[in-house]
């Protein structure tokens, strides 16, 4: 089976989507955790997808995004970057500005963490 349709749905329909190794409760990789922590500091409403249960998830995600590494963070369907970029944008305040612009001023009010399983 293919995950591509579900992956595209998550990217398009989530305010903020992160494809990571592990779950928000238990990140299995330092970079996934760094990106997640930066999103939390910015108050982002996060939808998280664990890529570890099937290697095919990662392959199909990379085919869609053209981004070779995990994690990958999307805001309103647009790739924002991996851990380094998300951390850098959070530190400069730009991540919060982006969230405000694309999700509206009260983006943090809807703050939630949702884990989506593809398998």
């Amino acid at each position: 089976m293919s995950y591509s349709d579900t992956i595209r749905d998550v990217i398009e329909e989530s305010d903020v989507a992160i494809f990571m190794k592990g779950t928000p409760q238990f990140a299995m990789c330092g970079n996934s955790d760094r990106a997640l922590q930066a999103l939390r500091r910015a108050g982002a409403p996060v939808t998280a997808v664990d890529v570890l249960p099937d290697p095919q998830i990662r392959q199909e995600l990379t085919a869609i995004s053209g981004w070779p590494t995990i994690p990958q963070v999307f805001v309103k369907g647009e790739l924002v970057g991996g851990a380094d970029i998300v951390e850098e944008l959070e530190q400069s305040g730009e991540l919060e500005r982006t969230l405000r612009e694309r999700l509206g001023d009260d983006f943090a009010a809807a703050r939630e963490e949702r884990a989506v399983s593809l398998v």
Binding site: G66, T69, L79, V80, G81, D84, I85
Partner: protein, 77 residues
């Protein structure tokens, strides 16, 4: 893998680099940090800048030689 071949790949992609650094973060030859400043990065978004680094290193990234890569890029203006 040692840092030198990665450096060579990056120099090929960024002949204009004003700063180019490759660090083996753990000493194990598979966790690297690269820093690149180049005028050809001016005006690109961070995603576009990092894509150029990924393109330059696509081979060692693709075959798993690089297990983890941290990237810091800047334009020069």
């Amino acid at each position: 893998m040692p840092t030198e071949p990665l450096r060579t790949l990056l120099e090929r992609e960024f002949p204009d680099a004003t700063e180019l650094e490759v660090v083996d973060r753990t000493g194990g030859g598979d966790h690297f940090q690269v820093v690149v400043s180049a005028p050809s990065l001016d005006g690109l978004t961070l995603v576009e800048q990092h894509r150029r680094v990924y393109d330059a290193l696509s081979e060692p990234l693709g075959d798993g030689t690089i297990h983890e890569l941290r990237i810091k890029t800047r334009g020069t203006t």
